[in-house]
Amino acid sequence: MATLKNAGGGAIVRRMADTIVENRGYLSEIDGKIGDGDHGNNMAKGFGRARDRIADTDTLSGAMHTLADVLMGEIGGSMGPLYGMMFDDMASAVETLERIDRAAFGRMLKAGQEGVMAIGEAKRGDKSLLDALIPAVEAFEADPGELSSALAAMKAAAERGRDETRDMVSRIGRSSRLGERSRGVLDAGATSCCMILSVLADETRARLA
């Protein structure tokens, strides 16, 4: 059964960072509709800075720890703690492993989800990044196939989850005071979370051996 080598996973995290930095303007624009228009700026600052400290040859867990340290230690904002906890807990779940198999990958995803929920106290349906993350983790678990198949299911579910935030009324964060006016636009965090999970799925699948 194909697994992912922990070593060399730094490249995956660097591709994530590339995607976030490329989408800086887009993510800020979405956030501007019902938030304060800075999601892309904050994210690009954190991921961009982490990218400079990560080598392609780093382990996946090491790279995620570095990313978490930058987000939580230097970036602040909402994303510092939320994605900081997510990547920190994901990293801790696999840091002792040389190779990450389907089961370990699933534990890693689940740990990330729980990390976000512990610090942010949001639930599914609140119109947040959890609306991409939770269904993605569920789909990964539920998929009957191998790791590659589960990753594809995860990515598809993240995209659907992101799209579903469009019709939600926000109950968390900056946009939660808008009531009905928050309906009709994507959630910025769900959009960035979907990007992160998509890169994770694509880059992992390309490295399965």
């Binding site: 800020s28 501007g32 600052k45 939580m72 970036i75 904002g77 900056r174 005071r177």
Partner: protein
């Protein structure tokens, strides 16, 4: 012709570091930087043994808030976040450690998810180091949630009064419980509502952070451009002042003989001339109800970069709040007393 606003900044990546250097270079008698993160601005003459440490903060882009309130009699330190983003726990803890005089530290900040998480994590970190640190969340923006969910409201310009009161209470030697209680009394007596007439341009990107057509106003808009409660054609000074006052007066139930402090705050590019026109109306409305103004401040105290707009804040006074308000302080943005 481009629509890209070139702001008077240098490298966007060092924006906050440049700001900190600029503030300290302008006020070397009042401010300096402490701690490894380089993000904590500390009063030269504030923190001292036995005094509760006062830390105020939040994202940048609201200048003079928050570092402008650092100085003797007000805040001991302020950690500076990035534009519109809470500082990180490490940056906050740097400020907390600098402010600590052995009597505990109170973190005061506006009610935003990011700040609640980061300050909360910093308070936990400090507790592990043996410093009792508590968080106090300002919730003065009447436009951001109904009265029965007042605890969910955002903190905006009313920070000014809550910080001032907490700073004075600490400077007078009250203990951590009493300082927190003073802040809570100030927050309970303070209401703000704002209006925006334009978006603000994010200095890093040179682009407005949302769309608000010329000639339109948004009542109740937040200081990061969070949408408000109503959008419509912009109105004149008196009409706008009346709209902003209405929910404030209703909630504070002000009547004959009551005393208030007034803050008419500019969001960035509304002229002082216009702010004085707003104050004129506020004073007239209060006078018609026989409510006395103890003190007023008119100017830019909590901005939203270069947003056009203003807010009106009232704090309903009792003898203690009045005394704390009048307690001397000396900071870059506010000086009270002799």
């Amino acid at each position: 012709m481009s629509d890209h606003h070139r702001k008077l900044i240098n490298d966007p990546d060092t924006l906050i570091e440049d700001l900190i250097e600029g503030m300290v270079s302008a006020h070397p008698d009042l401010l300096h930087v402490e701690g490894g993160t380089g993000r904590a601005i500390v009063a030269r003459n504030g923190p001292r043994d036995g005094k509760v440490g006062i830390v105020v903060g939040g994202g940048s882009g609201h200048e003079p808030a928050f570092a402008g309130y650092v100085g003797r009699g007000l805040a001991d330190a302020a950690p500076l976040g990035n534009i519109f983003a809470s500082p990180s726990p490490a940056q906050i803890a740097d400020a907390g450690r600098a402010a600590d005089g052995g009597a505990g530290v109170l973190f005061l900040f506006g009610n935003y998810t990011g700040d609640v998480m980061n300050f909360g994590m910093a308070a936990e970190d400090m507790a592990r180091e043996g410093v009792p640190a508590r968080c106090f969340v300002v919730t003065d923006d009447v436009a951001s949630a109904p009265a029965d969910r007042a605890g969910e409201r955002r903190g905006i310009a009313g920070d000014f009064f809550v910080f001032k009161v907490a700073g004075a209470a600490a400077d007078r030697g009250l203990d951590l419980d009493a300082v927190e209680a003073a802040a809570a009394r100030a927050n309970a007596a303070t209401r703000t509502m704002g209006v925006a007439l334009s978006a603000c341009v994010l200095p890093q990107t040179g682009r407005p952070n949302f769309d608000l057509p010329v000639g339109q106003m948004e009542i109740g808009m937040g200081i990061h451009g969070e949408p408000g409660i109503e959008r419509g054609p912009a109105e004149g000074a008196d009409a706008v002042a009346d709209r902003l006052l209405e929910p404030i007066l209703e909630e504070l139930r002000l009547g004959a003989g009551d005393r208030v402090a007034v803050l008419v705050n500019g969001l960035g590019s509304t002229s002082l001339l216009e702010l004085y026109l707003l104050h004129r109306r506020v004073a007239a409305v209060l006078s018609a109800r026989d409510v006395a103004i103890h003190r007023s401040w008119v100017g830019e105290y909590c901005t939203s970069l270069d947003m056009e707009g203003a807010s009106v804040t009232l704090m309903r006074l009792d003898a203690d709040l009045e005394a704390w308000l009048d307690h001397p302080c000396k900071t870059p943005a506010l000086r009270v007393g002799e």
